[in-house]
Every structure is written in structure tokens, then in C-alpha cells.
Amino acid sequence: MKIAVCVKEVPDPTAEKRIDPDTKRLVRSGENTLNRYDRHAIEEAVRLREGAAPGAEIAVVLVAPASASRTVDKALAQGGDRSVHLADDGLSGSDIVATSRALAAVLARDSYDLIVFGQQGSDAECYVMASAVAERLARPCVTQVAALALDGSSLKVKRQVETGYETLEVSLPAVISVSDAINEPRYPSLPAIMGAKRKPHEVLSLADVGLAAGDVGVDGSRTHVSALSKPPTRGDSVKLEDDGTAAEKILAFLVERKVVA
């Protein structure tokens, strides 16, 4: 079985997000790291390899600047067998349409039985990349998978939805995104950390995957950001100095807003 786990490099979530006023893009020049939601995707692939799909090969696939080697190594230490990294300056400024086109072109070079995404990126929080890539590859797609079981050539999945869970069966090859409730990612072992660099790393250019500069980047994107602003600060906060009656005032405040009855 061949599994691809698509991962993303994101700005360090503990640092404050900044927007470049000229390009209107997220500033990515600070510390970057592996999107934390993707750790659940890698962990689930590793569990398949340890369980129902012994010998499964796990490729870590990403579209990211060439400088993303630490992110790649982190994903490999977590359990990936090899990496496929599309790194091309022409990709800068790609939106979901352009990025999904690039990812689909990388994924189409191989015959993956299962393509796994994390539920969202911790930077742009879009939740849709799995669906967009599945559409381009004409594969069935299930998002927000909270549990899965391999059953021959199909996957039985429990999908987290607002009202509860859906139980679905999807035939392979397929694309899924896993929820962050699906597992608790393990810490990588020391030998895995030390061995990550020695695993096969494939770095590709746009030409390698049959794309032209105009297919991706700003030119290949369908959304154009005209303005960005920080959310307004909330002005309706109330500050209480405790004179012995603060608890009663807080309770009254919550009752008034029907938060508690």
C-alpha cells in the first residue's frame, strides 16, 4: 500500500502572525515549523503501517519553499519513509486553487492508494485543501475523519460532523483529511530524529511536474487579496475591581446574557 501524507510548513504558531502590507501575505520569514494538524495525519498513516497495512510506504508530500528542510525532517522523524518536495520560487503567492493544482500534479506522479491530510493549516485555517486536491485527482474524499479501519480495498471511516458522527465506507484510492481527535501523535524516537536526513528526499521544480509558471503563484490564483485588517478590538469588555461583590456582579453579568440560568 502506498500512502501519501500531505504536510504544510507554517509560521511558528506561538509567534504573532504578521501581514506584509505590500504583498498582503502572511509574513513567513520568521521561524517556521510543521503544521501541528499534520502530525495527526502522519501518525494515522504510521498506525496503518503498524496494523492493517504492514509494509505500507509513507511518502511525505509538500509544496513549500526550498528552506523547508526542517519541516520535512520533522515529518520524516514522525514516521514518513521518504519526502517529495515541490519547491519553486514561482509558487509564491499561490491561493487554494493554485496550491491544489500544484499538489495534485505532484501526487499524480505516483499511484497512491491513500492520500491523507491534516484537517486544517494552522496559518490560513482553510480546511479545504483535501477536497480541492481530491476534486482535481477525481478521487473520493472524506474530511474530518475521526476514526478509520482498512477493510480490503476500502476504508471504513467515522466522520465528525456538527450533529455527531457519520459512518461511511470509501473505496481506495481515496483522499481523506483527519480530525485532530483521531489520535494522539507520539513523540519521535531519537533514532528517528537522527535518521530523518538520511531518508530519500526528492525535490521537484514546477517543470518536473509539468506545470508552467502561469499555472501557480499569483497568476495561477483565482483569489486576489485587496485588503487585510486585524480583527477590531472588542470594546464591550467590563473591568471589575473586587470590592467583595465581584462574584455577584460576574454572576449577574452571565445571567443577563443567558450564559447561565
Binding site: 513523540y187 524516537s189 531519537l190 536526513k197
Partner: protein
């Protein structure tokens, strides 16, 4: 000259820091308060290869270098010294004698369990009446006609000997007048009894006990290396151990400094954060300066050892400096916390109690100075 830490070492630091902050940190206070040995944490560290960082991966170890080991111990001590000393004593004092001097049979019998952390190893040199004065040891091992050894004596302040997963202790004993040898004694051997845990100022969650040997018989095969090499072997073991104790001092100082910095920014006095007061700023600046110097000393000692060069002198410098710097840093860190620093509500009081032993264990500051002076040829 290259001051960039290799990417693998950075990734290791990130992983151990994450584990220390998110798995160990939340339970550190309770383990300390209840003097509970962190069995589950040791299990998790073992599964990650962190109970045998510098030993071969084929044996269940981490397959990494001494610098990696120092970084791992430093990051553990930044959050919890009890866990750090458990790892350091097991690795440098417990397991390394068998790696360095063990026969093929001894390595095969013990290393897979030890390197993977499924069993803990201890090293028994200190006795009730002899510490740094190791020539004064009294424990005797008498050779029997069949080649076996019968051990009688006591050991003191031994780490990791009495936990639920303790597997063996390597002890130094007199095997003739003026002759010392090291012998492996497995837990459960008749005549070997780890005593009750000792009550300590700090390191509450680590296992420290006296050991008693009464007509304790071990087979001939338990002699470690050639007879009469006890003294030479333990000197080499202690040289390596200094790197890990120095790493505990560095990590403890780093953790104390970060706590002091955070507290100084949140605590107000005279209408502004105390971090705005020059008296506090100077303390913080001194801390950062000394910690940076200590890190260079320690990593240099590790770097020398990794290259197979003489490292013992550098390790002594690092051990002495981190022991004394951690004292200064943790003392000022408590001072910055004021009255809250004296309360157990903040981790800094635990750090204060955990620090003192670093100036005593594995060679006191005074003995460290003797060793360093000897290296000067004076």
C-alpha cells in the same frame, strides 16, 4: 569553527523540550511533593531511545553522540531535575561501565534491557565512610575456590538501585589489599538488599538508597573487566558522568532564569513590572551571561569526547562552573520571586532545593578544583 548546532541536534532539543514541558512539567510538582519515582515517564523516555542516548540503536539506545546526550539531559533538567538525574545516572554511571568494560556475554545479557530503559542500572562507589576519598572503601569481595565472589559491605547515596525496574548495580570492592575491582550485582541476588529510600533536600522523585551486601555471592562472570581495574574504571566512568551532571546544572540554571524573567515581567512593584527596575535587570543580565558561558564549556567538553580526544579536563571545568553558576542563578531567581519564591506554589522553590546536590554529587566543587589543578601540573 562552526557554532551552528546541527539540524538533528536542534530537532532533538525541540522534541525533548516539548516532552519535558507537556508531559513531565504538568506532573513534576506532584512527583516532587509525594517523592514518587516517575516510572511512566522513564518508560516513555525509554521507548524514545532517551534512556541510552549515546549507545547503539541496535541495542535499543539512541545511537547518537555525547552532544545529543548533553542536550537531552539539559532539556529535562530545565523542567525537572529528578527526571534528569534518573536518566543521567542510568546512562553515565549505570550503563556505561558495561558498554566500556563489559565482556561480550555481559553486554549481550544486560545492554538491550538497559539501553532501552526497560531496566535501570546503578553504580555503587560511595560508602558511608568514603566519598571522593574512594581509596577508603571498605566493601570487600572475596574470591571463592570456584571463582565466584562473596561480597560484604555497604554503599551509600546510590541512584536508581531500588526502583521497581532496577536490574543491577555495579559496585567497586576491595578484591585484595590495595586492589579494587568492579562487580555486577543483579537485583534479587541473595544477600543484596537495597535499603529504604533516603529523605533528601531535593531530587525527591529520584531513587536514592543505601545498599547492603551480606555474604552476597555472585558468579565469576560478574567481574567487570580484568581484576584489579576497579580504580581505573571508575575514574573513566566519572569523567563521562561529569558531562551529564554539568548538563543538569546548565538546564536547571536555564529553567530558573526563564522563570525569573517571566515573573519579573508579570510582577508589579511601585507601579510597574519589576523587570523595569535596574536592580532586577542586572540580575537577569548576569544570569544570561553566565548561562551562555556555561553552555559553551559544556558543549566543548561533549564535542571533544565525540571526537575521541581527551575531554576529562574540559568536563571538570564544565562540571565545576555549572555547579556554581546554577547556585548563583537559582539563588537570584528565588530572590526575584520574593516571598512567592519561598512558597511551593511556584516551581522555583523546587529548583532551589534540587540545585545544591550539583555542588556535591559526582565530585564536590573542592574535589573538582583538585582535579583541575592536577591537570595544570601544579
Amino acid at each position: 569553527m562552526n557554532y551552528d548546532l546541527p539540524a538533528e541536534h536542534q530537532a532533538l532539543r525541540e522534541t525533548v523540550r516539548d516532552l519535558a514541558e507537556n508531559v513531565i512539567g504538568p506532573v513534576a510538582e506532584e512527583l516532587d511533593r509525594t517523592s514518587t519515582f516517575p516510572l511512566a515517564i522513564v518508560g516513555q523516555l525509554g521507548a524514545m531511545g532517551l534512556m541510552g542516548v549515546p549507545f547503539p540503536a541496535e541495542l535499543g539506545g539512541g545511537g547518537a553522540d555525547i552532544l545529543s546526550y548533553a542536550i537531552a539531559v539539559e532539556e529535562l533538567a530545565r523542567i525537572d531535575s529528578s527526571v534528569a538525574i534518573t536518566v543521567a545516572a542510568h546512562t553515565s554511571l549505570g550503563t556505561s561501565p558495561i558498554v566500556l568494560f563489559g565482556s561480550a556475554e555481559q553486554k549481550e545479557r544486560y545492554l538491550p534491557e538497559l539501553c532501552s530503559g526497560r531496566r535501570l542500572a546503578a553504580f555503587g562507589l560511595t560508602e558511608p565512610g568514603s566519598g571522593s576519598d574512594a581509596a577508603a572503601i571498605r566493601t570487600r569481595a572475596a574470591e571463592q575456590p570456584d571463582g565466584a565472589w562473596v561480597i560484604d559491605g555497604e554503599k551509600m547515596f546510590i541512584t536508581n538501585a531500588g526502583t521497581a525496574i532496577s536490574g543491577l548495580v555495579t559496585i567497586t570492592a576491595l578484591t585484595a589489599e590495595g586492589e579494587t575491582s568492579n562487580l555486577i550485582v543483579e537485583n534479587g541476588t541473595a544477600g543484596y538488599e537495597p535499603g529504604p529510600p533516603l529523605h533528601k533536600m531535593g531530587w525527591h522523585a529520584s531513587d536514592t538508597r543505601p545498599l547492603a551486601f551480606q555474604s552476597c555471592r555472585v558468579p565469576a562472570g560478574n567481574l567487570l573487566g580484568p581484576r584489579g581495574n576497579g580504580f581505573r574504571q571508575f575514574l573513566e566512568i566519572l569523567d563521562g558522568g561529569r558531562i551529564s551532571v554539568a548538563a543538569i546544572g546548565l538546564g536547571l540554571a536555564q529553567g530558573a532564569f526563564e522563570q525569573a524573567l517571566a515573573y519579573a515581567q508579570q510582577r508589579n512593584a511601585f507601579g510597574r513590572p519589576i523587570a523595569k527596575l535596574q536592580a532586577i535587570q542586572f540580575k537577569l543580565a548576569d544570569m544570561e551571561t553566565e548561562i551562555a558561558a556555561a553552555r559553551h564549556l559544556l558543549y566543548h567538553a561533549a564535542w571533544l569526547k565525540d571526537r575521541g580526544r581527551p575531554f576529562a579536563h574540559a568536563a571538570s571545568l564544565a562540571k565545576l562552573y555549572t555547579a556554581e553558576l546554577s547556585h548563583r542563578v537559582v539563588n537570584e531567581a528565588v530572590q526575584i520571586h520574593g516571598g512567592y519564591g519561598y512558597m511551593d506554589e511556584f516551581p522555583i522553590s523546587r529548583f532551589y532545593r534540587d540545585q545544591k546536590i550539583l555542588e556535591i554529587g559526582e565530585g564536590t566543587n573542592e574535589v573538582q578544583r583538585l582535579v583541575i589543578a592536577r591537570g595544570l601540573g601544579v
